[in-house]
């Protein structure tokens, strides 16, 4: 049953929303036992929302029939604030933190009758591509097809749950590929929108100039539906785009005939697994059969310098964003002793995970006097060059194609062997569009099973 049909059935009283939500929450608990997709299941909030909808339906409330997400379960990446629901961004340092306000996207989901079911697991603050860098005390989510493999990251819980749970759409978040890459590993659709299209108000920051909230779903219709709900101008986010809202569902059935598609030359060949390459080419062929015109394009700068540029900017920004967590106003605390500096150090040392510490150190270094010009400012300049190169490419093409990830989901035992740099390389296809603020979408083309 599509979500569209599901909503129709809710509106026509064919499905009892309270009963349905209750079952769905039980299903989440069951799935979570094996896969660890949810850090928090907001059972009370979900059931209360369901009861509220049921009452309004009974009272034949006029507005209820127009709600775009009526009764649809929406999971929320743990980095997105939901009022009064524990929100940690996957970090021990925010354990038990309950936000004072809803993120913009949460307000929108609620307004349209969506039911928030819980907070999905992720790499701590989004720092990773395999969801293995979860915070201290958090569980690693597992691939829905093979529990020995990664479901990707950092929105790993969101992508895995999207594959496993029906009548559900996930809110993911991406800084360097954290929506599309886990979507690819879990065989679902993930849309990372244009920077500024979706308000970041209420998103716990990783890197402010890169972070984007976007939908992940089993069907492209689900992704388009949630995208229509969460996009739009928000006065509380200065980087929000003040342009007219779009109905993304209206674009779904448009033919691809005559579309020009650029195949990024550097995204194939060396370092790309054979199965990945084969299946992506098959996908391109399908598009060509539908009348799209595909042609190769070289985008050397973004592929070659994307990782370096991205990590300089992202860690610089992240290291300032994480400064606020010091055990003083909210989140984890330690025994109060020593000077403020000693206390802050103790809180941060014992509550941040290794990758968070690594990125704080990297980012602090990149913006230090004496290194700032060579790293942070240089990266900002390369970013401008990358944007120009993409602009040039989009003069000729309507869309660019590359594999989302160059490999199939790796086994946890193999991930352990990776050096931090090899770990960072998983983002090679996805960081560049993020650095340029471009939208990108993961389209599953084939399921490879070993």
């Amino acid at each position: 049953m599509s979500i569209h049909d599901f909503i129709k059935k809710i509106k026509n009283h064919e499905i009892d929303i309270v009963e349905h939500t209750y079952k769905l929450i039980e299903e989440c608990k069951e799935i979570n036992k094996e896969y660890n997709y949810l850090n928090t299941i907001s059972e009370d909030l979900a059931l209360n929302s369901a009861r509220e909808i049921k009452i309004q339906l009974k009272q034949k409330n006029k507005n209820i029939k127009n709600k775009k997400l009526l009764g649809v379960a929406v999971s929320v990446k743990d980095a997105i604030c939901v009022k009064d629901v524990e929100t940690t961004a996957g970090s021990k340092i925010l354990k038990n933190y309950k936000p004072l306000f809803d993120a913009f996207v949460i307000q929108k989901v609620r307004e349209e009758g969506g039911i928030i079911i819980g907070k999905t697991s992720q790499d701590e603050f989004g720092f990773g591509g395999f969801s293995v860098n979860v915070g201290i005390g958090f569980k690693v989510p597992k691939n829905p097809f093979d529990i020995d493999r990664s479901c990707g990251g950092s929105s790993g819980g969101a992508a895995g749950l999207s594959q496993k749970l029906s009548n559900h759409i996930a809110l993911g978040e991406s800084t360097g590929g954290s929506i599309v890459e886990p979507a690819s590993f879990c065989g679902v659709y993930g849309l990372c929108p244009t920077y500024g299209r979706v308000s970041r108000y209420g998103l716990i920051d990783f890197a402010n100039s890169l972070d984007k909230i976007g939908p992940i779903g089993k069907n492209i219709e689900d992704v388009a539906l949630l995208m229509s709900v969460i996009s739009g101008y928000d006065k509380n986010d200065s980087t929000s785009l003040n342009t007219k809202n779009e109905n993304y569902e209206s674009h779904l059935k448009k033919p691809v005939k005559g579309m020009k598609i650029g195949i990024i030359k550097e995204a194939f060949g060396q370092g790309v697994e054979r199965e990945v390459e084969k299946n992506v080419y098959n996908g391109i062929e399908e598009l060509e059969e539908e009348g799209a015109k595909a042609e190769e394009i070289s985008l050397e700068l973004p592929i070659r310098y994307g990782i370096g540029t991205y990590y300089m900017i992202a860690t610089s920004e992240a290291s300032t964003n994480l400064a606020k967590y010091c055990g003083m106003r909210y989140g984890a605390t330690e025994k109060l002793e020593g000077s403020f500096n000693e206390y802050f150090t103790k809180v941060r040392s014992s509550n941040f995970g290794d990758e968070a510490k690594r990125r704080i150190i990297l980012g602090t270094f990149a913006r230090m006097a004496g290194y700032r010009d060579a790293f942070y400012l240089k990266a900002m300049k390369v970013r401008t060059l990358m944007i120009q190169e993409y602009k040039k490419a989009f003069k000729k093409f309507d869309a660019l194609v590359s594999p989302t990830a160059s490999i199939l989901p790796p086994k946890f035992e193999d991930i352990e062997k990776l050096s931090p740099l090899q770990h960072y390389m998983i983002d090679v296809m996805t960081v560049s569009p993020n650095v340029a603020g471009l939208p990108h979408l993961n389209v599953p083309v084939e399921l490879e099973c070993s």
Binding site: I80, C81, T87, A89, L94, Y97, P99, L100, F101, A103, R200, Y201, G202, L203, I204, D205, A207, N208, S209, K235, N236, D237, S238, T239, S316, E317, S319, T320, A323, K324, C326, M328, R329, Y330, F340, N341, F344, T364, R367, M368, A369, R372, Y376, M380
Partner: protein
């Protein structure tokens, strides 16, 4: 660097600007004094909160840049200044770094010297820390975020100031500008300075003094520091570059840290905020709204009211005084008005340790009073006394003069009567005068003034007595 003066001072001034709401959120800058009540997720640095720029604050800062003759940046860009401190909600302060809003400006001192302004930039105020048992002794510190996120403007001068007195005057002139622009709350606004002080005797080794609050303190702190450095030099001590703090209660500076390198704040662009374009159109709009400043008033007073430059400068130095003068000069001879406002009113205010905006006296009182002086209905003496009383609490001057019978004695026969009495009552003084002690006459004149309660002019009394004695 070559310095011309023996003392070299540069200032870094932080001033609050008087917007209704904070720089990056809509919390009020004034209101409840109960700690942590004027706060929201943004000024508390809660995860997920985002800053949104207050355009009014930008306009205020632009006005200041224009008044200080700065070159204005075409773009407003904010940076994050990172350091850990308990008064920082985010452990970074949103400030400006590479490209300040204004640069290369200047401000003229009373002595005519022009002081260079290196930069003017905007930033947010941290929270306030309260040490319940004193700064060094308290076992704990309380944090009040009511102030967190208030808009500040930082003004950095060239090291052009050659004495603590000049530094004080710079602050005074700056406050005058802020006051004219109406961007500073003169009653509650806080103005703070850090000062770099170096003296020739120490080869101009730079010492930074932090945390001097208010323009009167600056001279005290700098005088102390200059003397301290001179003493050290006399004793042959080699002064190292260091950062010191001013303890206003004890009247001393004390060492905070000897620093070998500049502090590293790891500045990056704050990408939560967009680059704000300062368009020509916007700037023109602001230029149109710019009020007359002190130098405009001085010119106008000299040209229109024909008063002396020196008087014009003193009147213009304070916005309230200048505005009062303009209104009074419409009804009273400007020369008389200037004399009374810049001498008597300022004298009485200084004596009472008050500023004009702190007292209730207004232009109507001055006009009433000076009309009586102009028409010689009361003597200067009586007018001065009335002014002293007015500062305490205003009243209707005409009624008061009538009720207290203070009108000048213009009837010569009445005056002659008082003089005759005084001569009779003080034969010794009269005799002394006749012996050649000219001063003795003043004593007799004083007695007559007493009898008339100041309602006669000393000159007139003097003439009558002389005539009677000789």
């Amino acid at each position: 660097m070559k310095f011309k003066s023996d003392i070299v001072i540069g200032l870094e001034i932080h001033t609050e600007i008087d917007t209704k709401t904070k720089l990056f959120c809509s919390c009020p800058t004034k209101g409840s004094e109960e700690p942590n009540t004027r706060t929201c997720p943004t000024c508390l640095g809660q995860p997920g909160s985002k800053p949104v720029l207050n355009n009014k604050a930008v306009e205020f800062a632009l006005k200041l840049c224009l008044a200080l003759n700065c070159k204005i940046s075409p773009e407003l860009i904010f940076s994050r200044k990172s350091y850990f401190y308990p008064d920082m909600a985010k452990n970074y302060q949103i400030s400006q770094y590479e490209i300040p809003l204004g640069k290369s400006g200047n401000l003229r001192l009373r002595n005519g010297k022009e002081i260079g302004i290196i930069r003017v930039h905007m930033e947010e105020d941290p929270a306030s820390l309260i040490h319940p048992a004193g700064m060094k002794e308290s076992a704990y510190v309380l944090v009040d975020y009511n102030r967190s996120g208030n808009p500040l403007v930082e003004i950095v001068t060239e090291p052009d100031l050659a004495s603590p007195d000049e530094a004080r005057d710079f602050m005074k002139q700056l406050i005058t500008v802020l006051n004219y622009l109406e961007i500073f709350d003169i009653n509650e606004g806080i103005i703070k300075a850090d000062a770099n002080v170096s003296i020739k005797e120490n080869e101009y080794t730079r010492i930074e003094i932090k945390n001097i609050t208010g323009f009167k303190e600056i001279e005290r702190a700098l005088n102390y520091e200059v003397n301290r450095q001179k003493e050290e030099a006399k004793r042959g001590k080699n002064i190292e570059q260091e950062t010191r703090a001013w303890d206003s209660d004890k009247g001393v500076t004390f060492s905070l840290r000897k620093k070998e390198t500049e502090e590293d704040y790891g500045y990056i662009i704050d990408t939560d905020l967009t680059v704000v374009e300062i368009t020509g159109k916007w700037l023109n709009q602001i230029k149109k709204e710019m009020p007359e400043l002190a130098q405009d008033k001085v010119k106008k007073f000299i040209q229109k009211h024909k008063i002396k430059k020196e008087d014009a400068e003193i009147l213009a130095a304070e916005k309230e005084l200048a505005e009062m003068f303009e209104k009074v000069a419409e009804e009273i001879n400007p020369l008389l008005a200037a004399k009374w406002l810049r001498r008597e009113l300022v004298r009485v205010l200084n004596y009472n340790k008050k500023e004009l905006h702190e007292v209730e006296i207004d232009e109507k009182h001055m006009i009433d009073l000076l009309k009586l002086v102009e028409s010689r209905k009361i003597t200067d003496n009586v007018a001065s006394k009335i002014m002293e009383k007015l500062i305490e609490k205003p009243f209707d001057i005409k009624d008061y003069v009538k009720k207290e019978n203070l009108e000048a004695v213009s009837d010569i026969s009445e005056l002659e009567k008082y003089c005759k009495e005084a001569i009779k009552e003080n034969p010794k003084a009269v005799a002394d005068y006749k012996k050649g002690e000219k001063k003795a006459l003043n004593f007799v004149v004083g007695k007559v003034m007493q009898k008339t309660r100041g309602k006669a002019t000393p000159k007139e009394v003097n003439e009558i007595i002389l005539r009677m004695i000789e």
